[in-house]
């Protein structure tokens, strides 16, 4: 459990998305590390995306939770580990004794390592006796899990990444892989370039992924099932079925086909149901039909739906019907969002799984009970995330332990979640950070967990590949591995025998053994070959795909020859329900709010938000709207708008863009009360869930939008966190050397000098043009800016990029100081504009200049500026800028990214 201080390069795995890229980390002596892609890792072969590349900027201990804390008389106070653990165990014991095991719950995270997950799941389901173990993966890919289980009898991803290299057609459904799985997307683009593979993107939103598509299908939200039902009918009617495969390895085809015909019985019906043109529908059907090597990739756009499981099955149906499954370059493929969502699924860290891909059938319960020697094994499913927090709100669950996730931000109806947390009798959070919206919702016990770079164990990526996360930094303060914390509590609950693990390797061996226990090939998930790994072998474990059955060779794919994990070994065709969103738009909620990620941020920004580079791409929480809707509702690009749903409201920066569908809004999920004043987008989302997966419909909440006027815009930068004046709209942005804030204000400009003077020293530079609505000031410590604030009318807030770069400097020359409050760059330090290429910090202005100077392709821009030559995730944006430059004035209507200045 003690991390070793390494000085050489350590192989580890990226903690962001489910691609699971190998990372080479070379720590220095100051707690920082140089980060590079691992050329040997089979997920990325050395490539990293912008987020992964910036991992070195996220290792600071600022804001880290370093000691256990317990709430005493209202405030959190530092306590010894033993006291914190005793307290948690004592309170859990008391509540279970009084109210039964179902009064307690664990809420886990796809950020946890498999070993942490395993211990948590074992403790709750085997020993405390409740299946109230759920995870943020519920919000992410549980519909894929449920779809897989319905069709395959197990949560099996049939294909692997090589299929993306070898397919001739890549169909991406509800996936903005260009931003959310950039390294895989680059593999697909490489396939397109080398092998002329075609790409189809199915998404209501014209994302950067769509920018690379040969065919873009901007369908009506929630109608994916109709599209794939139509496809199934087309495959049947055009004689494209694999009759042998259907006959030998599946069941339920006729019912599924009948349902498909009733939903979308041909091209016209499909076009009508999906809002697509018949021509586009036909093109898609024909391409799919005529391309044996087709991979259909699906992600949150499919999963995050009240019919997500049916959508998954509608897709799987088409692959089963053509036998295009588990074959080289031919498979359905679920892209997972988190680094270890798959690992969580493997241990059974979901309320509707028991353990190791086993469910709650009596034989499975019995098998797990015997393996664990479990005294109180849970015998039925627990509450899934949304229902779990509703039960907390009703007072039925009285104790909750959250590990490594931020449900007060990420769950639907998040304001109600936040209130529910305050009702808990015992609210424990294992965390890296001292503050986030969840911690700030009345936590009773705060336990410091190891972070990425410190902890050690395994994660599994989207292609079932287990990779080691290795520590390369010492454990800071008193932070401990999550598994250690859990074991210590388990021991105090009287379960010492089941939790006497001494290392992550120890846990992994038991986890592997359970997967192989009475398996005999009946369960997909089997790590039998790894159950006796020595500690040293575990340490050196190279990335390995499962199944890894004892005595059997590697298996990269499943199901090409059937052998499904149902009782009859046949796959099931599933007849989906007719597609319908759970909610209706109304006169007062005329639009639908779609949500998602942006390229350079991760989840609630507790890690990625620390990187100045990553903060530069889209620094402010925003809502994207189609120009027609913007005109209709009086919304102006680069202004602010209030977005209201039946559940909450936010005030967001506006991006008017034709990439957004009419009638739809899009807002990213990353911002919280910790880093923005009015941007808890989770609070807007309806809590309706899929009946099978329990996954909420995060992408279609009825909403209204109205303009929100601010007289002043501005920004502040400081070496320390600032308490901004009240009633400000603000968002925090990482800045080199301190904290940045972008804000908007309707207050009296004259309040600012007093506010600044109260926090600044004597050495103050001030610029006042109150008549022009401008106040700018900077306090200095020596030749370095200590704090600065720029306030002005919307068109004249000062150039954030310029000032940010001056703030990053350790000393300003007299000339820089003289010109600082102009908010403009002096000669030679020309503003480069908002950052487009986060890897090399190349700004839009520089890129447009390069285009103007004759660079006509991303490669030419890359040759000049390096932009796009690392992770490549900005290449779509580079192409857009090239296209815009070509369009001239017409291009100025295109997306402009939100930023405080310009």
């Amino acid at each position: 459990m003690t991390a070793v201080v390494h000085t050489s390069t350590i192989r580890t795995t990226c903690p962001y998305c489910g691609v699971g890229c190998g990372v080479l980390a070379t720590p220095d002596r100051h707690g920082d590390a140089t980060i590079a892609g691992d050329p040997q890792h089979p997920a990325n072969f050395g490539r990293l995306c912008s987020k992964g590349s910036a991992l070195g900027e996220t290792l600071s201990l600022n804001g880290r939770l370093l000691h256990p804390m317990i709430r005493c008389k209202g405030s959190l106070e530092r306590v010894a580990w033993s006291d914190a653990l005793d307290h948690v165990a004592h309170r859990l014991n008391h509540i279970v004794a009084r109210d039964g095991p179902n009064a307690v719950a664990f809420y886990l995270s796809g950020q946890l390592l498999t070993e942490d997950y395993y211990v948590a799941n074992k403790l709750m389901k085997g020993f405390i006796g409740s299946a109230n173990v759920d995870t943020n993966s519920r919000l992410c890919m549980s519909s894929s899990v449920a779809g897989h289980r319905r069709a395959f009898g197990a949560d099996t991803v049939p294909g692997c990444y090589e299929d993306l290299d070898q397919a001739d057609l890549l169909v991406m459904v509800g996936s903005n892989a260009a931003w959310c799985h950039p390294v895989l997307f680059q593999r697909m683009l490489a396939n397109k370039q080398k092998r002329a593979a075609r790409i189809i993107v199915i998404d209501p939103r014209r994302t950067d992924t769509a920018g690379e598509a040969d065919l873009f299908l901007g369908l009506t939200p929630g109608t994916d099932t109709a599209l794939f039902c139509g496809l199934l009918v087309h495959l049947v009617d055009s004689g494209a079925l694999d009759q042998d495969y259907i006959a030998q390895h599946t069941s339920g085809f006729d019912e599924a086909l009948a349902r498909a015909r009733s939903i979308a019985g041909g091209v016209p019906a499909t076009a009508l149901a999906t809002g697509l043109s018949e021509r586009d529908v036909t093109a898609f059907f024909q391409m799919f039909r005529d391309t044996p090597r087709v991979v259909t990739l699906f992600s949150q756009g499919v999963n995050q739906s009240a019919q997500g499981t049916d959508k998954v099955n509608a897709i799987l149906n088409c692959h089963l019907a053509t036998g295009r499954i588990g074959k080289l370059g031919a498979s359905p493929f679920s892209l997972t969002g988190q680094p270890n969502a798959m690992g969580g699924r493997e241990v059974g860290g979901l309320a509707n799984q028991l353990a190791a891909h086993m469910g709650f059938t009596p034989p499975e319960i019995d098998r797990v009970r015997r393996f664990w020697k479990a005294p109180h094994i849970a015998v039925h499913e627990g509450l899934k995330a949304v229902q779990m927090f509703e039960a907390i709100g009703r007072g039925e669950i009285k104790a909750l332990w959250v590990m490594g996730t931020n449900p007060a931000v990420s769950l639907p109806h998040a304001d109600v979640v936040r209130e529910a947390l305050r009702k808990l009798e015992l609210f424990v959070v294992s965390e890296n950070v001292l503050a986030n919206d969840t911690v700030d919702s009345g936590v009773h016990v705060l336990l410091p967990a190891l972070a990425w770079g410190e902890k050690s164990g395994t994660v599994t990526n989207s292609e079932r590949r287990i990779s080691r996360q290795r520590s390369f930094l010492p454990a800071p303060g008193e932070a401990r591995p999550d598994w250690w914390i859990l074991c210590e509590v388990a021991k105090r609950l009287g379960f010492a025998a089941g939790f006497d693990f001494t290392s992550a390797a120890d846990i992994f061996r038991e986890h592997a053994a359970l997967s192989a226990f009475e398996n005999d090939g009946r369960r997909d998930f089997d790590l039998g070959a790894l159950k006796s790994l020595s500690d040293a072998a575990f340490d050196e474990l190279a990335p390995v795909q499962w199944p890894a059955r004892e005595g059997a060779g590697p298996t990269a794919r499943f199901f090409a020859g059937g052998n499904f994990f149902t009782a009859d070994k046949r796959a099931r065709f599933v007849a989906p329900e007719a597609p319908a969103l759970r909610t209706e738009t109304t006169a007062s909620r005329p639009l639908r709010l779609n949500t998602g990620r942006v390229r350079d941020q991760w989840h609630t920004m507790t890690r990625s938000g620390l990187s100045p580079r990553l903060s530069a791409h889209l620094p402010e929480p925003f809502v994207e709207i189609h120009p027609d809707d913007a005109a209709k509702y009086g919304i102006v690009d680069d202004s602010f708008a209030r977005v209201t749903t039946d559940y909450g409201q936010c005030i967001l920066k506006v991006i008017v863009s034709e990439r957004q569908r009419r009638g739809m809004l899009f807002a990213p999920i990353h911002w919280s009360a910790t880093n923005a004043s009015n941007a808890r987008v989770g609070a807007l989302i309806a809590p309706f869930t899929d009946p099978f997966s329990g996954q909420p419909e995060n992408k279609a909440t009825p909403a209204a939008i109205a303009p929100c006027e601010y007289v002043f815009r501005g920004f502040a930068l400081s070496r320390r966190e600032l308490d901004l004046p009240p009633r400000l709209w603000w968002t925090r942005v990482a800045a080199s050397g301190g904290c940045g804030y972008l804000f908007a204000d309707n207050g009296d400009l004259r309040h600012w000098p007093a506010w600044l003077q109260a926090i600044a020293g004597d050495d103050l530079v001030e610029y006042r043009d109150f008549g022009g609505g401008i106040y700018r000031a900077a306090s200095f410590a020596g030749d370095r800016i200590e704090t600065c604030v720029f306030v002005g009318p919307a068109h004249d807030g000062g150039d954030w990029e310029v000032v940010r770069s001056l703030f990053a400097a350790d000393r300003l020359s007299d000339e820089q100081r003289r010109i600082l409050l102009s908010g403009k760059s002096i000669e030679g330090a020309v503003s480069t504009g908002p950052v487009v290429c986060a890897c090399f910090g190349v700004g839009r202005t520089s890129i447009c200049d390069a285009i103007g100077a004759g660079a006509h392709t991303p490669a030419e821009i890359g040759a000049k500026l390096k932009a796009g030559t690392n992770c490549g995730s900005c290449i779509p944006e580079l192409k857009r800028l090239i296209a815009q430059a070509g369009e001239g004035e017409a291009g100025s209507k295109e997306t402009r990214f939100a930023s405080a200045a310009n």
């Binding site: 050495d763 103050l764 610029y767 006042r768 401008i774 409050l821 102009s822």
Partner: protein, 405 residues
């Protein structure tokens, strides 16, 4: 045959008038310059630099004797004009023959005010006006004497700085609550005070000099509040008074200065006045720049060309080494104007720009005066500044880019 033109006064205004006449009316007039000071016209503005040891006395001379000669100008320096006979069109000169004129220009300048207080006539009480004064003050400073400078305006500050630099222990007393109150707002004056204090000069504000004690020779200065300052010498630098005696005796209209119209003509036809002695539209200017503008207008008029003097937007530059101060136009602002202020006290910078009706109407600069002339140009030209409002404070190059953008 050239017309006889007589200029009374041999200062900077006179020299400039001769120069301007040389451009527009060379040979039309036979010019005679009569000056009381015993040397050729010199740059009075630089006297404080001489005092500070930054300029040598001989470098002050505006033009060499040959320059005057080449223009056919008769220069009589060290000669005092005593009377103007308007009817006979003659100027009488002490100890010499009268000179006849058809056109007469009075460029008699001004004299320093001496406070009307007890002891003001003691030995050791000086003024700071001409090169003789400077020679005296340098002698004082060389003897490390304690000097009290009375007056915290431009002249007083420059005198105090020069004396301190030359070695004197200087205290500056000023009647008002801030230095240069006619050119600076309170923050600028406060910054100036601290900057001047850094030069080793003690400054007392709101200090009303009540009397000078001593036995026919300065010993202490007593302020109205009773405070006494020991001193070896006092320098009055508390203002100037236009030299109007000649004009007044000749029956010309005189208020504070000699009243002139927009052609610089006094109440008597063919008799003109310019420079510090003149009062135009109620204003007596105490700076060289308006005198130069007046000289140009007057020269054109005397050459028979058009033009009129409509008053000057005055700009003040304090010439104290390392303490740059500039003030121009409506430096205080009013209810009808807006002010933009940039202050950086550590760098010794304070800048205020006053805007009214979309134009720059005033400027105060302390420390950073690099763009002073550009601001002055903007004030004078009254060109709209809306487009450069945000950049103007940070200099012309940034503003030019703002326009280009």
């Amino acid at each position: 045959m050239s017309e006889p033109l007589v200029i009374v006064g041999n200062g900077m205004a006179a020299a400039r008038l001769v120069e301007e006449l040389g451009k527009v009316a060379l040979g039309r007039y036979a010019i005679a310059v009569i000056g009381a000071e015993p040397r050729l016209a010199y740059n009075r503005v630089l006297l404080s630099s001489v005092l500070a040891g930054e300029t040598a006395s001989h470098e002050l001379e505006l033009r060499p004797a040959a320059w005057w000669r080449d223009r056919g100008v008769t220069v009589q320096y060290g000669s005092a004009a005593t009377e103007i006979d308007v009817g006979r069109r003659e100027v009488k000169i002490a100890g010499e023959e009268s000179i006849a004129f058809t056109k007469l220009v009075l460029a008699t300048g001004s004299m320093p005010l001496r406070l009307n207080i007890p002891g003001a006539d003691f030995a050791g009480v000086h003024t700071f006006r001409d090169s003789r004064d400077v020679d005296l003050l340098l002698t004082l400073a060389a003897r490390k004497q304690r000097v009290v400078v009375v007056g915290g305006g431009l002249l007083g500050l420059e005198a105090a700085y020069g004396l301190a630099k030359a070695g004197a222990a200087v205290t500056l007393v000023h009647l008002m609550d801030r230095l240069m109150e006619r050119q600076l707002d309170a923050p600028a004056a406060a910054l100036l005070k601290s900057l001047v204090e850094c030069k080793g000069i003690r400054i007392l504000l709101s200090a009303n000099t009540a009397r000078i004690h001593g036995n026919e020779r300065v010993e202490t200065i007593e302020l109205a509040d009773g405070l006494r300052l020991e001193a070896d010498a006092v320098v009055f630098a508390a203002g100037i008074r236009p030299n109007v005696t000649l004009a007044k005796d000749a029956g010309l209209a005189v208020n504070r200065g000699i009243v002139v119209d927009d052609l610089m003509q006094t109440s008597a036809p063919g008799i003109f006045a310019l420079g510090e002695c003149a009062e135009h539209r109620g204003v007596c200017y105490g700076l060289v720049e308006p005198a130069y503008e007046q000289a140009r207008v007057l020269a054109r008029h005397l050459a028979g060309q058009g033009g009129a003097y409509c008053g000057s937007v005055v700009a003040t530059n304090l010439k104290v080494s390392g303490v740059s101060v500039f003030s121009a136009g409506d430096f205080l602002g009013s209810d009808c104007s807006e002010s933009i202020v940039l202050s950086d006290l550590r760098q010794g910078t304070y800048k205020k720009l006053v805007i009214a009706d979309g134009c720059l109407t005033g400027a105060v600069l302390v420390g950073d005066v690099a763009d002073a002339l550009w601001y002055l140009e903007l004030i004078r030209s009254r060109q709209p500044v809306a487009r450069i409002r945000g950049a103007m404070m940070f200099g012309r190059s940034l503003a030019d880019r703002a326009i280009a953008a």
